[in-house]
């Protein structure tokens, strides 16, 4: 299935999608592409809000500065932090007695970021066009909960796979 259909399917049944994604051979490039794709969409999602911020503050700091800072943060620093977070997820799964491979720990986290992208885009729109308020809080909560849920379900599926292979 195409990536976009897999993203939609993750919202309906994350378990099935993870089963399929993890069944494919381990490929670092593919999961990195998922992460960078998710972060790329995140960067785009931030633009309306940055524009709003620059407009409301009268261009101080200027929009270009805000965009540059966000670009650096989302596409250069965030990936490194997500690799760290994947490592902690790997450690957590191990402590829970459901060890997963390092690649699987990265794959499920990076996929969770990409699969949450629709909610991130929605959040960006609300942040840019409506601004802070209950609507934004709800979208942020949905996005955050979806991301955590996808990550967690992914770790579970990966852990269960590892268990059956060992048995």
């Amino acid at each position: 299935m195409s990536v976009s259909r897999d993203i939609a399917a993750t919202w309906l049944g994350p378990r099935r999608v993870y089963d399929r994604l993890l069944a494919r051979p381990a490929d670092e490039g593919r999961v990195l592409a998922w992460l960078m794709g998710g972060l790329g969409l995140t960067f785009v999602a931030r633009l309306p809000e940055l524009s709003r911020q620059a407009y409301l503050s009268g261009g101080e700091p200027p929009l270009v500065g805000l965009v540059a800072g966000t670009l650096l943060g989302t596409l250069i620093f965030a990936p490194l932090l997500f690799y760290l977070l994947a490592g902690l997820g790997w450690l957590g799964a191990r402590l829970f007695g459901r060890p997963v491979s390092g690649w699987a720990a990265r794959a499920v986290l990076f996929w969770a970021v990409l699969a949450a992208a629709p909610a991130i885009l929605m959040h960006g729109l609300v942040a840019g066009f409506i601004g802070p308020g209950p609507a934004l809080s709800v979208v942020a909560a949905v996005a955050g909960a979806a991301f955590l849920l996808f990550w967690f379900v992914g770790l579970r599926v990966a852990g269960a796979d590892a268990g059956t292979q060992a048995a």
């Binding site: 809000e49 997820g89 942040a127």
Partner: protein, 214 residues
């Protein structure tokens, strides 16, 4: 409560059964949790109890926040900042909804994660201990409100004491629900998991942008 252990505690007695259970929760958390879980309270009772605790917690939380803000502020806080903080206190209804949602999440986490660790607890028991802990928190909050009105410095100490006790009770309740031997391993699992989730959420939240929290 000791003169007739065979009764379920519904009859009028010297001590109200809930107060007796609250006392036992402090002196013998695991025994109290076992008693509560073994009652096998039916779902409608649990839903009603959760709703009641949520509503009362909403009211109490709202009072608590307003009372905190009515204390003499440190000099570096301006009047405008104080007014803004007062405006941001959520109303009792929304606090009750947050409380209810929180209870659902915590009960689900206790049940599902405990099962992953090899626990044997059932969903009804997880819900019951979650509601009971929320009810105890509510009672503690009411005590804190009174203390805050009478003697703020003591209230601060009491708050710290309650936080420690709360974590200990949660740990003991979970250990009893899932029949875990060591409460300490439960404690570290809670700590580790909370750390992991908080870190993940913080990183994700930073992606969403600064206004997400505001």
């Amino acid at each position: 409560m000791s003169y007739n252990p065979n009764r379920t505690g519904m009859e009028p007695a010297m001590t109200h059964p809930l107060i007796a259970l609250a006392r036992q929760s402090v002196s013998d958390p695991r025994g109290a949790a076992r008693r509560l879980i073994d009652r096998n309270l039916p779902p409608p009772v649990l839903v009603d109890a959760a709703a009641l605790v949520a509503v009362l917690s909403g009211i109490s939380g709202w009072l608590f926040a307003n009372l905190l803000l009515s204390l003499p502020a440190p000099p570096e806080v301006t009047a405008a900042e104080l007014a803004a903080a007062r405006g941001e206190v959520a109303g009792p209804l929304s606090q009750a909804m947050v409380q209810a949602g929180g209870m659902v999440l915590i009960a689900a986490a206790i049940w599902i994660l405990g099962r992953m660790f090899g626990g044997v607890g059932r969903a009804g028991g997880a819900v019951a201990i979650t509601i009971w802990l929320s009810a105890l928190s509510l009672a503690a909050q009411i005590v804190l409100i009174v203390l805050l009105a009478l003697a703020p410095p003591i209230a601060v100490l009491a708050l710290i004491g309650w936080v420690v006790l709360n974590i200990w009770l949660l740990t003991s309740f979970i250990a009893e629900l899932h029949d875990f031997d060591s409460a300490w391993s439960v404690f570290f699992a809670i700590l580790g998991l909370a750390f992991l989730l908080a870190l993940g959420l913080a990183l994700f939240g930073s992606l969403l942008g600064g206004v997400a929290g505001g």
